[in-house]
Structures are given as structure tokens and as C-alpha cells.
């Protein structure tokens, strides 16, 4: 049962994720996309008379069930198979992070950065709140996120999705290599 406790390789995880595209199409004509769930939540909870949120969100409620499934899946994978060992991290990344005081590799995300205590520090606030804001604002402005553009869009050979994916990557390269090192040392 080592496959349960070991991290899964990319050639297992990638094709499984790719299969979500035809599965959603075939079980109900749905396009794989996750960031839309944020829009539907806004439409359901705070439409505030904004035209962008005036649509029948109940038709899209499948998307909210889908993301609820992701939360439960995350819970089950962690609860059923607790991690016993530290996560493997590239030595160069570990060296750079240790300069910023990130040394705990016991979880999938660095607890020294993502915790309720950290939220009230400057760098924690920037990473958790500003980062989250950019994810929500940017994905809606771009018309989709990694799932909607990079996976669904490119699978259907849509060139606007290729533009979006390249811009996602460019933004990520700039942040991870140029801006984040500054934020982490605040």
C-alpha cells in the first residue's frame, strides 16, 4: 500500500486531472472550471444589483457541489493518510527560504507563513490576503484560472486560453523570483 502513503508522481496525477474534462462533459455537459464558483457565490450571496452577478446562479449550482467535493477530498486524503515525513523541497529553495526564517517542512504549506498568527504580521497579511485577492480578481478578469484556461481551454485548442496561460506563468515567474523574496524578508 505504499502508493497510499507516498506522494503520487506527475504521470499519475496529470492524466487523472485531464480525465475530469471529458467526465464533466459527459455526465452533464459541464466545462471544467473552478474560479467560476467564486462568481456564483457572489451572485448567490451579494449580487448587490451588479449586472455581472445578475444571472440564474441556480443553473450553475453544480459548480458549488464540485468545489465542496474538493474540500471533502482534501479532508479525506489528509485524515485517512496522515503524513509522517517532511515534504521534499529543492535544496536551493530550502536555502533561500531559511534566510527568511521558513524552516518547518512538516506540512504541504509552510505553517510559519500560513497561520492565524502570521495573518496579523505584514508579510503574512500580504501573502494571505493580497495574494488571495489577486487570485480572485485576476482569474475573473482573465475569464478563468488554471482549470478553465490552462486545462479546459488548451484541451479545446483555444488560442485566447494560451495567451491567458502564458500570462499566468509570466506573472508567477515575476512574483516567485523578483517580488516574493522581498515580501518574505519584510
Amino acid at each position: 500500500m505504499s502508493w497510499l502513503t507516498e506522494p503520487w508522481p506527475w504521470y499519475v496525477a496529470g492524466p487523472l486531472i485531464g480525465l475530469i474534462v471529458p467526465v464533466l462533459l459527459l455526465i452533464g455537459n459541464k466545462t471544467f472550471g473552478i474560479s467560476s464558483s467564486l462568481r456564483h457565490t457572489c451572485a448567490a450571496c451579494f449580487p448587490s444589483g451588479i449586472k455581472f452577478f445578475k444571472y440564474d446562479w441556480k443553473k450553475e449550482v453544480w459548480n458549488l457541489f464540485f468545489v465542496a467535493g474538493i474540500v471533502i477530498g482534501g479532508f479525506m486524503a489528509t485524515g485517512a493518510i496522515p503524513d509522517s515525513q517532511n515534504i521534499a523541497v529543492h535544496p536551493d529553495l530550502a536555502t533561500d527560504l531559511s534566510k527568511s526564517g521558513i524552516t518547518d517542512y512538516s506540512g504541504l504549506i509552510p505553517s510559519q507563513l500560513f497561520s492565524w498568527n502570521s495573518l496579523f504580521s505584514l508579510k503574512g497579511f500580504i501573502i494571505i490576503i493580497i495574494g488571495g485577492f489577486l487570485v480572485g480578481f485576476g482569474s475573473r478578469y482573465a475569464g478563468g484560472c488554471t482549470s478553465g484556461h490552462a486545462i479546459s481551454g488548451l484541451s479545446n485548442l483555444q488560442w485566447p486560453s494560451l495567451v491567458a496561460t502564458c500570462c499566468f506563468m509570466l506573472g508567477g515567474f515575476i512574483m516567485a523570483n523578483l517580488v516574493l523574496p522581498v515580501i518574505l524578508n519584510l
Binding site: P7, W8, P9, A13, P15, L16, G18, L19, V21, L25, L26, I27, N29, T31, I34, R39, C42, K51, F52, W62, N63, F65, G69, I70, I72, G73, G74, M76, A77, T78, V89, H90, D92, L93, G107, L108, I109, F114, I128, I129, G131, G132, L134, V135, G136, F137, S139, G143, G144, C145, T146, G148, H149, I151, G153, L154, S155, G171, G172, M175
Partner: protein
């Protein structure tokens, strides 16, 4: 066929919704609400893969953008290949949904949002180490502070809707 019909019936509304392609893809069948549990099941499998393949790990995303690991490139790349082959097969053999409906595809139209929004999204992706899917899975794993990130992402979505007419597209 049905796409052109929709355009003729409600041109303005369609173009509004077409900027967000997910909202134009709809089944024309109505089912009881509990039919949606099948999507919950698909999401559940997705959530398990997210955790087991460490896709929701902040470290894996940093390594991707620092070109220190092939892992995420392999995952996204092989997902696209499998998705593309699947869509090709569905189109080529005209495979219907389990309810016998024609599978609908909607072309995406280019606008400046894909560039500006895409860059902003990329900045946020590398900061949080998570795109929207992993945010949900991280909360599931017990990282409750990510609820704050998710609420902030909701605020970002809402503000986009609020300022949408003033933003370049």
C-alpha cells in the same frame, strides 16, 4: 447549431456571459437538485489527487516558478494532453452525454482581460501558492487560515464585477 440559435435569441446577454465561458455551457435538461451530487463525487476525487500529488503544496508552486522541479509542468502538461485527446474523441465520434445530449463546446473570445487579468492572477498564484482549486483543498486539509485567502478571493471577484465596465477589455 444550438450555439448560433442562442446568439440569435439573446445577443446581448450571450455576449455578456461569453466573457466568462463557463456560464454559456449549460445542459438544456432539468434535473432534481440531488443530481448534483455526481459533481461532488468528481470534485472529491480531484481533491484527493490534489493532496496526494502535492499539487496544493506552496513549495511545489515555488519550485515550478523557480524552474527547480518538473513535477507541476508534468501534471499540467499531461492533463492537457489527456483532455485534448478526450475532446478530440468526443468530437470525432460525436459521443453524447449520459442523458443523450450533444456535447457542447464554446469558443473563447480574446479580450485584454486575458493579458491583464492573467498577469494579476499569476502574481497571486505565486504568492498564495494556490490557484482557486487548491485553495478549497487546502481548507479541507485543515489549513483554516486559507479561509481568509478564499474570502479575499471572493472580494476580488466581487470588486471585478463592480468595476467591470470601467476596466479595459
Amino acid at each position: 447549431m444550438s450555439v448560433t440559435k442562442t446568439i440569435q435569441q439573446e445577443p446581448v446577454e450571450y455576449q455578456e456571459r461569453a466573457l466568462d465561458a463557463v456560464c454559456v455551457n449549460e445542459s438544456h435538461l432539468t434535473h432534481p437538485w440531488w443530481y448534483n451530487f455526481k459533481y461532488l463525487a468528481v470534485g472529491l476525487v480531484f481533491g484527493v489527487v490534489f493532496v496526494k500529488a502535492e499539487i496544493i503544496s506552496w513549495y511545489r508552486i515555488q519550485e515550478m516558478f523557480r524552474l527547480e522541479s518538473f513535477h507541476m509542468y508534468g501534471i499540467i502538461g499531461s492533463a492537457i494532453v489527456v483532455g485534448a485527446i478526450s475532446i478530440f474523441i468526443i468530437k470525432r465520434f460525436n459521443i453524447k452525454t449520459i442523458y443523450g445530449e450533444e456535447v457542447e463546446f464554446h469558443p473563447k473570445t480574446f479580450n485584454k482581460g486575458q493579458v491583464i487579468g492573467g498577469l494579476l492572477f499569476g502574481l497571486g498564484w505565486a504568492m498564495t501558492g494556490a490557484c482557486p482549486g487548491p485553495l478549497f483543498a487546502q481548507i479541507g486539509t485543515g489549513a483554516t487560515v486559507i479561509i481568509a485567502s478564499l474570502l479575499s478571493a471572493l472580494a476580488g471577484t466581487w470588486l471585478y464585477g463592480y468595476f467591470r465596465d470601467k476596466l479595459p477589455h
